[in-house]
């Protein structure tokens, strides 16, 4: 097992009248190099699950496994673990606290005890990985940046430690379509070229569905579905009954199929849809 959980259960405020079971008996396993999606209605436990994967939250029972080993609760171990498994929170730019972009990205490497030369290299490399220009931006105040640039700085701050796994909680909230596309291009690049394992939670499947190797669906803290994207997105009625949606293009293909057009419904991008419709229509005409 590369990264996943075994019978993970998490209860918030256990032993108090406010005890709330947020996750119940979750077992799954993402492979190294996966582009994985975690989806589910609001309150289904996505953020709680994500925060277990780099040891920010500790299981009430069960375990979180990384490279076949229980990640445990030793502080030094967890510090080392968080270098390898980076987590980008929802709306991460709301947590900026530094005066310059450089200091913001340098926070984690400094915290891990690297000397200033190494810190400098790591900051520049991380900014470059996200497509930002270090020379132009390093001395700027983070709040002077555009919404899309801020989001990238927050991701650079996590990439500065060269993690092997990058987890992002709702990474595209409040970004416009151009920035959203840019962000997914970046994640695709990190996944393909840098071989990073990417795990994201999202409500918006426009871009994410086509990239996903594996999809995990949560329902009220329980594992509702887990499997390859084609399999999970094939279970349309179940997804609907959870209040979830299919990728928009897939909805159109289902519409066509229902009207008797023999198209595949395992289609997640505009270009795939275009090819599929052309294929079927050409066959019609010939």
């Amino acid at each position: 097992m590369f990264i996943g959980t075994e019978q993970l259960t998490h209860t918030y405020m256990p032993g108090t009248p406010f005890a709330t079971k947020a996750l119940h008996d979750i077992s799954f396993n993402f492979k190294q190099g996966d582009f994985a999606l975690i989806i589910g209605p609001s309150g289904s436990g996505k953020s709680t699950l994500i925060q277990h994967l780099n040891g920010l939250l500790k299981p009430t029972s069960g375990q979180v496994v990384f490279e076949g080993k229980n990640i445990g609760s030793d502080k030094q171990e967890l510090l080392r673990l968080r270098k390898r498994i980076g987590l980008v929170f929802q709306m991460p730019e709301e947590q900026f606290f530094s005066e310059t972009v450089f200091d913001e990205v340098a926070f984690a490497p400094r915290n891990q005890g690297f000397d200033e030369n190494e810190v400098e290299n790591k900051v520049i490399e991380a900014l470059e990985k996200t497509g930002l220009d270090p020379n132009e931006l390093r001395m700027r105040h983070p709040f002077q940046l555009s919404a899309g640039q801020k989001r990238l700085v927050a991701i650079a701050a996590v990439l500065s430690l060269n993690p092997e796994v990058l987890i992002l909680d709702e990474p595209t909230v409040a970004l416009d379509t151009a920035y959203r596309k840019n962000l997914f291009d970046l994640l695709t690049g990190l996944n393909h070229k840098e071989k990073l394992t990417i795990i994201i939670s999202t409500h918006h499947l426009d871009e994410a569905a086509a990239l996903a190797d594996r999809v995990l669906v949560l329902k009220q803290g329980e594992l509702a579905m887990f499997g390859p994207a084609v399999e999970v997105f094939g279970r349309r009625e179940e997804l609907y009954s959870l209040g979830l949606a299919l990728p928009p293009v897939t909805e159109i293909m289902h519409g066509l199929a229902e009207k008797g057009m023999p198209v595949s419904t395992s289609v997640y991008t505009l270009q795939e849809a275009r090819r599929e419709i052309n294929k079927v229509k050409r066959r019609d005409r010939s």
Partner: protein, 286 residues
């Protein structure tokens, strides 16, 4: 020129500069002229940083124009003594429901604005119950808001605005944080209020599907008005949208690709169903 009787909002030659900013000579908004009438449902669209949120804040006097003026039912937002009336007419819903719920129960939260008007308790209770019933929140009145789903929280926020008997609801990406079911829930609620109570809505969104579902789309780009027209027209002008880095609905985007492949599709396709129907009727003719 005097305001028309049915005019709710009038922006006249509005420029806005954020004070003290490094970019003191580049306005956040410039030369904006816009009139919104009673009962109109307007989508406000544009890339990140184009001035959408700034403009929305100008409409309920959270910000005051640097030059020009904003009139809400003929009252200038720059006049301090009439601010309560301006804010009653134009209520604001923000992106993150967690940032705008203030009380410990749903009932108190909805009542918050009324309490500030120093109305008699009976009157407050009546209005809160009536509003809650209208939005299907009766059963939640004694619940703490933080235990509600995202969609429910946004409906509570809408109730808190609605109870003030507004004539216009301003919404800044109200569905950005919501799951698909919550999103539908909020959009349907707002649409009903717009249709049945003739409340004007100005809805900032990055989702082409949401913009397509309104009556009128206003596009901002770099602080200037770039388009203002019927949704069906603006949202099908793909060349224009792409030029600004925006997208059309999935149906509009796919239809455009298929037209390139010489599918004779009608130009007004906006929704999935229209695309599906058109494609299927092509099949029957060939």
């Amino acid at each position: 020129m005097a305001a028309q009787p049915s005019t709710i909002i009038e922006a006249k030659d509005v420029d806005f500069y954020y004070p003290g900013g490094e970019d003191a000579d580049s306005p956040a908004l410039s030369g904006i002229n816009l009139t919104v009438n009673q009962g109109e449902y307007v989508a406000l669209v544009g890339p990140n940083g184009s001035g959408k949120t700034t403009f929305l804040k100008l409409l309920n006097a959270l910000l005051i124009p640097t030059h020009g003026q904003v009139l809400v039912k003929g009252i200038s937002t720059a006049v301090e003594s009439t601010l309560p009336e301006v804010r009653r007419v134009c209520g604001m819903i923000f992106q993150n429901p967690d940032n705008q719920l203030v009380a410990t129960t749903v009932e108190e939260d909805i009542a918050f604005g009324l309490e500030n008007l120093a109305l008699p308790p009976e009157e407050i209770r009546n209005r809160v119950f009536k509003t809650a019933a209208l939005l299907g929140l009766e059963k939640l009145l004694s619940q703490p808001p933080h235990l509600l789903s995202g969609g429910e929280k946004q409906r509570v926020a809408i109730a808190g605005v609605l109870v003030m008997e507004p004539e216009c609801i301003l919404m800044d990406e109200p569905t950005a944080m919501l799951d698909p079911a919550g999103r539908r829930d909020v959009l349907n609620t707002v649409r009903e209020l717009n249709r049945n109570r003739n409340i004007a809505v100005i809805h900032v969104t990055h989702f082409p599907e949401e913009a397509a579902g309104t009556d009128r789309v206003v596009i901002l780009n770099e602080g200037k008005l770039a388009a203002d027209g019927a949704s069906a027209e603006v949202m099908t002008d793909l060349q224009f949208l792409h030029g600004l880095g925006l997208q059309g609905t999935t149906a509009v985007e796919l239809a455009a690709l298929l037209r390139q492949d010489s599918f004779p599709l009608p130009p007004q396709i906006l929704y999935n169903r229209e695309l599906v129907d058109s494609l299927c009727s092509l099949g029957q003719n060939s």
